[in-house]
């Protein structure tokens, strides 16, 4: 099962003692503020987790896979995520435990 906003709100309700509405609102606001920063061209650095960076991609040639027709892929700005050292280390411990199985 994947971790969702509902699970996250439940945890804040249980462990921080927020009421259910407050917990739901702060989870929503947490992701919304990250989106707003990125939308405004600002990268986001969450220590203990990772960085959300912005990259500008130039226009490049593409193709409609159905018709084979050539169409340019317009230049765009995209988000990339780079996991921090702490998260990478935690995830590698999981890899180690999987190898023993």
């Amino acid at each position: 099962m994947a971790l969702t906003k509902a699970d996250m709100a439940e945890k804040l309700f249980q462990e921080v003692g927020l009421n259910k509405r407050e917990a739901k609102e702060i989870v929503e606001a947490f992701f919304e503020e990250i989106r707003l920063a990125l939308e405004n061209g600002q990268s986001v650095k969450l220590s203990g987790f990772g960085n959300f960076d912005l990259r500008k991609k130039n226009q490049r040639p593409g193709r409609n896979p159905k018709t084979g027709e050539e169409i340019p892929i317009s230049s765009r700005r995209v988000v990339t995520f780079r996991a921090g050292q702490k998260l990478k280390a935690k995830v590698e411990i999981y890899a180690g435990s999987r190898e023993q199985q």
């Binding site: 099962m1 994947a2 971790l3 969702t4 906003k5 699970d7 996250m8 945890k11 804040l12 462990e15 921080v16 003692g17 927020l18 407050e22 917990a23 609102e25 702060i26 989870v27 606001a29 947490f30 992701f31 503020e33 990250i34 989106r35 920063a37 990125l38 939308e39 405004n40 061209g41 600002q42 990268s43 986001v44 650095k45 969450l46 220590s47 203990g48 987790f49 990772g50 959300f52 912005l54 500008k56 765009r76 700005r77 995209v78 988000v79 990339t80 995520f81 996991a83 702490k86 998260l87 990478k88 935690k90 995830v91 590698e92 411990i93 999981y94 890899a95 999987r98 190898e99």
Partner: protein, 97 residues
């Protein structure tokens, strides 16, 4: 924007909540996300994106000092796929020109 700046902004906008509750909440959310990934669980946030692990197969690397070949074990690396809303908003944002 850093974690502490995010806490400041949220505390200002969620004025009904005590600063320390906002601070604790943000730290707990980040911990919970890191914890999920470190146990191999995906994270799915509609309109934001999903986080999962991608497997990196074992490979032969080299010790850059000695040039000696070393076998590097396979490992998992965190991966983020932006959701549709985030993709569109980032591409259409005001700073994008």
């Amino acid at each position: 924007m850093t974690k502490s700046e995010l806490i400041e902004i949220l505390a200002q906008k969620q004025s009904q909540l005590a600063y320390k509750d906002v601070e604790l909440s943000v730290k707990m959310l980040i911990d919970q996300m890191a914890q999920a990934l470190s146990t191999g669980e995906r994270i799915e946030i509609r309109g934001f994106g999903s986080f999962s692990l991608h497997y990196r197969p074992p490979r032969v690397g080299r010790n850059p000092k000695t040039g000696e070949a070393v076998v590097l074990a396979g490992k998992y690396a965190p991966h983020f796929k932006p959701g549709k809303e985030l993709r569109i908003r980032v591409n259409d944002g005001p700073e994008n020109n």
